[in-house]
């Protein structure tokens, strides 16, 4: 089921502004790939170009090639809607649908595809997804309440549950744990471990330990200088990256005092 993703010579623009330049990498199927790097280097931008969410920003565009299982992602014959359906995404800031209940939030994606879910089936999906996101216990008694009434961390887990509920084949996560406490973070990391046997997962994180713990491969992005576009400095198996990186600046960044 899972997909491998080949990125070649990718330039990503916001209008005229080149945000990320010349990226080449192969994201392996059934593995976890982490993007790390300083703020503003284009990790989120890179991630969003992988499920064609980048293009929803007016003026934003992409040059180069991204191949998913042999299909060119930016080919005119590709339906971005189908892409996003199969390549799910969790954002940096939690964004539950404000008018929907917790229950409906989780099911939002499923409802799009199958208008009529059987009640039992739906209940099942909701419970499974919320459990996987480690939120079930906290909300099981108020599934009908609005999703916005949760704490920041709870909201983020709700968004993860929502993304998981449609069973995507690739899951992109943009600092999914930055608003989470250790317990939830740990639950999410467990979840990532679980999912990777079937899915391809790409995660942006500022937390070196997290990258080290969960990922198989790591890409390090950096800016040559402020104002310059971000670029991929090094892409290697995480083990190698954290013990014996090819690049000096990688080492400097990783060995920063902490993560």
């Amino acid at each position: 089921m899972a997909k491998s993703i080949d990125v070649s010579d990718l330039n990503i623009y916001y209008g005229d502004f080149l945000a990320v330049e010349g990226v080449n990498m192969t994201i392996k199927a059934r593995s976890v790939t982490a993007f790390i790097g300083p703020s503003g280097c284009g990790k989120s931008t890179m991630l969003r170009s992988l499920n064609r969410m980048h293009e929803v920003i007016p003026g934003a565009r992409v040059e180069g090639k991204i191949m998913v299982d042999g299909q060119s992602l930016y080919d005119p014959s590709i339906d971005p809607v189908a892409v996003r359906r199969q390549i799910g995404m969790v954002f940096q800031r939690p964004n539950p649908f404000p008018t929907m209940s917790i229950y409906d939030n989780v099911l939002a994606g499923n409802r799009l595809n199958a208008k009529k879910l059987k009640k039992a089936e739906a209940d099942d999906v909701v419970e499974k997804s919320l459990r996987a996101a480690n939120l079930w216990n906290e909300v099981k008694d108020r599934l009908g309440k609005p999703g916005m009434g949760l704490s920041g961390g709870q909201q983020q887990r709700l968004c993860i549950a929502r993304a998981i509920a449609v069973e995507p084949q690739v899951l992109l996560m943009d600092e999914p744990c930055s608003a989470l406490d250790p317990i939830s973070t740990s639950a999410i990391e467990d979840l990532i471990h679980e999912l990777k046997s079937d899915y391809t997962i790409v995660i942006v994180t500022h937390n070196m330990q997290q990258a080290a713990r969960v990922s198989d491969d790591t890409g390090f992005f950096n800016l040559k200088a402020t104002g310059e576009p971000g670029h991929l400095v090094e892409f290697n198996p995480t083990k190698k990256m954290f013990t014996n990186p090819d690049n000096e600046s990688t080492e400097a960044y990783i060995s920063g005092r902490f993560g």
Partner: protein, 315 residues
């Protein structure tokens, strides 16, 4: 640390809000109260001047006989015209608002928004003229077609008007008149939908329409209701354009395309006001009072429906 307390030696009885805050809050509340006062003023005026209109001599209500039979067709006509206008305008208005905020290329959206706003500026007299002299003529074949194909429906029972000056045409003119108001307000709220909300839907694999349904509409709902209420208000209260377009008679009819159509309260006041005797003027103002009550009821009902929806949402 004395900085925190505004005046430590004074008795701590009254809340230490700054004068600026109190003044500002007072002004804001004052403005709200001013609106209440204005409305109360209108209501008192309508009551004092209108109540004598409920019981005048029979001749005053010609060609009807008493107040109820006089005001009935007017209220009916007002509601009929407003409903027609809303039915026509609301889908278009939301469609255009969406077109401007989410569908059109930027280069097209800006001028379109601008032109629609301009429409709000066309004087109602000009709407009336255009409606009565240009549009109505062009709609005569439409009337004929509706009569020819749909005359089994009571709405199109005919015979079709030869001048096109029917409530059907008036509804269209009203719809065009309320279109800019509904469009402008709803497009503002559509455009304000946070990107994060919209991306939430897109990232789940929603098509553009599904994104609109999932993120934009729920977010904009209150604004959309406001926009429609404003449009409804204008449709209920529009005076000149209806008076000029409509071939009016004091009757009840479902027939939308014949030359016999109920007038609206406002248009009837405008056209009867000129020759009105003092007694007739009381009657006219009394019809205004009834319209006021109807507006009140309509708003009440709308609010109740919306409120019930919200309550169900919150559960």
């Amino acid at each position: 640390m004395s900085v925190i307390t505004s005046s430590p030696e004074k008795a701590p009885a009254k809340p230490p809000r700054s004068r600026g805050d109190r003044l500002f809050a007072g002004t804001a509340k004052g403005a709200g109260l001013a609106i209440l006062a204005a409305l109360a003023g209108v209501f008192i005026f309508l009551t004092i001047e209108g109540v004598p209109g409920l019981s005048q001599t029979e001749a005053t209500y010609a060609p009807n006989h008493d107040f109820l039979s006089y005001v009935g067709p007017l209220i009916y006509g007002t509601i009929l015209a407003a409903v027609l206008a809303l039915l026509l305008a609301v889908p278009f208005a939301f469609g255009i608002a969406l077109f401007i905020s989410h569908y059109a290329p930027r280069k097209l959206a800006v001028p379109v928004a601008y032109v629609i706003d301009l429409l709000a500026a066309v004087p109602s007299v000009v709407f009336g003229l255009w409606g009565a002299r240009s549009l109505a003529t062009y709609l005569v074949p439409v009337h004929d077609w509706l009569y020819g194909h749909l005359s089994f429906l009571p709405f199109f029972a005919g015979p079709p008007s030869v001048t096109g000056r029917t409530i059907f045409t008036a509804g269209i003119v009203l719809a065009i008149m309320i279109l800019p108001i509904i469009t402008a307000i709803s497009r503002e709220v559509f455009a304000q939908t946070p990107r994060l909300d919209q991306e939430a839907a897109l990232a789940l694999g929603a098509t553009r329409w599904e994104m609109v349904r999932l993120s934009v509409f729920p977010y904009a709902k209150s604004g959309m209701v406001s926009a429609v209420m404003l449009g409804l208000g204008r449709a209920l209260g529009e005076t000149m354009a209806v008076a000029m377009v409509l071939s009016a008679s004091p009757v009840y009819t479902l027939n939308l395309i014949s030359n016999t159509n109920p007038a609206t309260v406002a248009s009837n006041i405008a056209s009867s006001f000129a020759e009105a005797t003092p007694a007739k003027l009381h009657v006219l103002i009394a019809t205004g009072l009834v319209l006021f009550a109807v507006t009140f009821a309509v708003n009440f009902a709308a609010r109740w429906v919306v409120g019930r929806n919200e309550r169900r949402m919150a559960r």
